[in-house]
Symmetry: C2
Subunit: 470 residues, 2 copies
Amino acid sequence: MNLDDFRKNGYAVVDWICDYLEQVEKYPVKARVKPGDIKKQLPGTPPARGEEMDTIFQDFKDIIIPGITHWQHPGWFAYFPANNSPESILAEFLTAGLGAQCMVWATSPAATELEEVVAGWMRQMLGLPPEWSGVIQDTASSATLCALITAREKATDFKVNEQGMEKNLTVYVSHEAHSSAEKGAKIAGFGRENIRYIPTDEKFALQAEELERQIVEDKARGFIPTAVIATLGTTSSGAFDPVPDIGKICQRRKIWLHVDAAYAGPAAILPEKRHLFQGLENVDSFVFNPHKWLLTNFDCSLYYVRDPELLTRSLAVDPEYLKTAHDKEVKNYRDWGIQLGRRFRALKLWFVLRSYGVKGLQEFLRKHISLAEFFKNLIAEEDNFELVAPAELGLVCFRFNDGQKESLELDEFNQELLQRINGREEVFLTHTLLRDNFTLRMAIGQRTTEEKHVTRAWEIIKEEAQKMQP
Amino acid sequence: MNLDDFRKNGYAVVDWICDYLEQVEKYPVKARVKPGDIKKQLPGTPPARGEEMDTIFQDFKDIIIPGITHWQHPGWFAYFPANNSPESILAEFLTAGLGAQCMVWATSPAATELEEVVAGWMRQMLGLPPEWSGVIQDTASSATLCALITAREKATDFKVNEQGMEKNLTVYVSHEAHSSAEKGAKIAGFGRENIRYIPTDEKFALQAEELERQIVEDKARGFIPTAVIATLGTTSSGAFDPVPDIGKICQRRKIWLHVDAAYAGPAAILPEKRHLFQGLENVDSFVFNPHKWLLTNFDCSLYYVRDPELLTRSLAVDPEYLKTAHDKEVKNYRDWGIQLGRRFRALKLWFVLRSYGVKGLQEFLRKHISLAEFFKNLIAEEDNFELVAPAELGLVCFRFNDGQKESLELDEFNQELLQRINGREEVFLTHTLLRDNFTLRMAIGQRTTEEKHVTRAWEIIKEEAQKMQP
């Protein structure tokens, strides 16, 4: 494609995205296809000769789009949101156009320095300790893995990197921690048996006294308690672990404390929610995802550390072909994460922060939180439904509950209810288990979700529940 | 920004990218800035209120662009290329517009199935074994880490994931292997002391007999040889390790063989270069990067495995909130890599493969290989310069050599020569050490690089060398 064709097709793509975002509500939220439906429409062998962009773009619309699940649909209440925004999309477009690979400062100084600046802005906005340093990673999975590796090295005075993993290093998480904690601990060589799952309280928050009890027991048995992963806003229910208490334990016992605020993090920019983020002064590392609930299209995960020297010492490898003249004066973010290569992710976050401003982002978050309040009240007014967990932010966990508190029949009922709700194709909710009960998750946080969408979701939920009752 | 503004600004961004790609040659290849130059132009605090997109876009042009190192410049001969292409840029734009997070099949069936299809196409194009399965990852660093983890689990019958890393698992690479091998081995808990660096031959290729000798010695000492990482196209010099011989050793001794063809992989689509990729039938995993030398903007790394069951069993964690109705029938790529979240990377590769076709991509690669031949001949004709390594593809390693073969003065001379060449701002080359000698790397592979750019680079190199001679 020459540049004239690029310009022509570029305009067409702008128009298509514009129409898509305007009309996304007309699509079924969740792709209507069955396994194999898309694949069977695509040739099994690559084309020998180049094809026209018109043909390719038409196939995109005809074959690919029907197989897309529409994360930007206002009826998106599944998992957590993964917002994009016009600003962020344009910045990602520019990033692709520049095609810079930002592994070290020299390979695009502006990318590194803008990343420092926006990480600093976000640190101020969230009220994180001023001495923390930030880096943009792809996902919280990678950030949590970095935390576990750094913790492992700190606990062993960097011996694991040299001599290999020790068998007696332990990691502490609650039963409600995200699966990336287990995955990261396995990757880093801890082993699943060295992960201690700490019980949670009635709000699904980690019990600090149980944590300390387990740590004491492990020490007595010769283990080296290495890292605690606390969650602010768990995936299942949005629970907040008691970081102030956990932080004191970790501080006293010299254990790395990593905080996973992947979803909830942005809420720290709201003064009225700041109380949920107390105790960070004793935290060693912290991750949250602007690509979830902060209008920055996936991927963009912000990872903060108290001591960047520990992080880079844990991850740096220094081959000759990557050495540059300024290595001593600059940040080379290649040593701040798992991968060597890096996209210029700071640009889209910068576009979003500047275009919305702090006040604009606060309004954006408050809208969802108030919609979640609205939805909670709808449930509270209905005898047949119950709230299953506190909902501090945009995630509401609930289930159909016909007067009984627990029974297998209710689990099956809710499971079928969820299928029927999603079958209506106007909304998409997902599920979890809370206290072993099948629970519906209504995660409100999509950019274009308004009160009418929440009202409509509630109508559908009630209608389907009524249809199922004898 | 509303959608009308998005459309207007979208057109402006299309125009800007168009102009950028057309005029990129006018910029200094390497950003002219000093450390801190960009940062000091940016406010230290975030804006309270939103700003106009015009202002933000203007700052992008005035502040950010002068700090960009231009990877798409035709004078880009540094590191390896990281091509983009108009097709790929448009697809990345669409991907951002859709904003789909493709962690499992259900969260966008088309993304998963298109990924299977394009991975299959590329497998055929490269002549890889038909039974291999592919997945798109972000970088070869992540893919190599996956290989090391899978090897670790296979060697221990999945005990490491359960009980933690063993101290006696060893990894084998040549001295010329990429730094991601060491980084991955450290992350996965092997420890640097359990990495065996095997000597290379006069072409910088791993010596298979030395590998076998080391494996035998390790076994006798109670180690468990776990993984060999062979490279096809090393970073320093483009060397090809003898995979057929290594494969036989690994097959006989049941050791995981991972092949890192990050840079050179695309050349396997050329019949005349296919001989460099022999012996893959005994390989367990293989990575190459379409984001380097195949027109697909960073990031897009293809990872192939012989046995996907071993990969997913090594990486799968299965929390309730990620379970879907079709989990038994579909590929959930979340279990094929380090991260849970995934962008829709298959789209850009599909656009590139269809728009160029196999023949178009072959022409693209042949152009660079013939330019590298041209450059090699220029060096061979000059008494003062020498080729330091064979150049099979687009990477040519050379140095100024004033009749002498080795001396510290020559190292200093070449170091200064490189600085002077890059100081001219028309071309950007990087360096490496080969046999401890400071060596210049001329990596030819940028989309728009033509013979005139190579000729110009050679003029600059010679001019600067002449200026430095007394």
